[in-house]
Point group: C2
Chain length 134, copies 2
């Protein structure tokens, strides 16, 4: 069912500083900072030859990554995102297998303009997993 | 400097259970379990079209992932591994930029039989980063 690894997301307290680490210390190709007010984050993409890293910084009140950053003050690896062909079919198969979907259980439009779902970390080895319809 | 994302490692308390989640619930192609006594872990690889996920379970006394699992009883995303062409050149550039290398600072032969280094999470946004000479 799962296809490509779409991205690994790293939540950080200061995205400009984090982006500079990737650009200057690790010599990576990075995007400009993109505010995503609907998702409560600023994003910077690190473009690797086979996938990307998504840096996330809280934006506005009640950002969904605030709690994670309270527990991980330096930042940390927040989630991994796998691509699926059909997110509704994927969701139905997961629910049938007893896996829990976060939120309403209905896909939302994610930061890349495509339908996404988040899966309960307790059902996936403690890792927060996002599915994105490719 | 950094190239492909070689793998994302997920540390788990029970690798057979974790591998079954990826095989049965997420429908992924998984490898057999490989004991890596030199590294204190059992490994299972999840083969994705563009990269791989490495499941890690403690093996023997004093496994390097024991502490992580004490803090994260369900498991969690443990590290990300980027490929570099020349690990000594990469190491020297990182040190020049003030980044800290874990351990002796000299590359060791990693779980894939290639030279690797681990970088200090405090210098990389709270994320544990492995570099592997591709």
């Amino acid at each position: 069912m799962i296809g490509r690894l779409n991205h690994v997301a790293i939540a950080v307290p200061d995205i400009d500083k984090a982006a500079a680490v990737y650009r200057d210390t690790l010599g990576a190709d990075i995007s400009d900072k993109v505010p995503q007010p609907d998702h409560g984050v600023n994003t910077v993409f690190i473009n690797l030859p086979n996938t990307k890293i998504e840096l996330l910084e809280p934006l506005g009140e009640g950002s969904p990554i605030n709690k994670f950053l309270e527990r991980n003050a330096d930042g940390g690896i927040h989630h991994i995102c796998y691509e699926v062909d059909d997110i509704i079919a994927a969701r139905d198969k997961l629910v049938e297998n007893g896996a829990r979907i976060l939120g309403s259980g209905e896909p939302k439009i994610g930061a890349h303009g495509k339908p996404v779902l988040f899966l309960h970390p307790k059902d996936f080895n403690g890792a927060l997993v996002e599915l994105e319809q490719a």
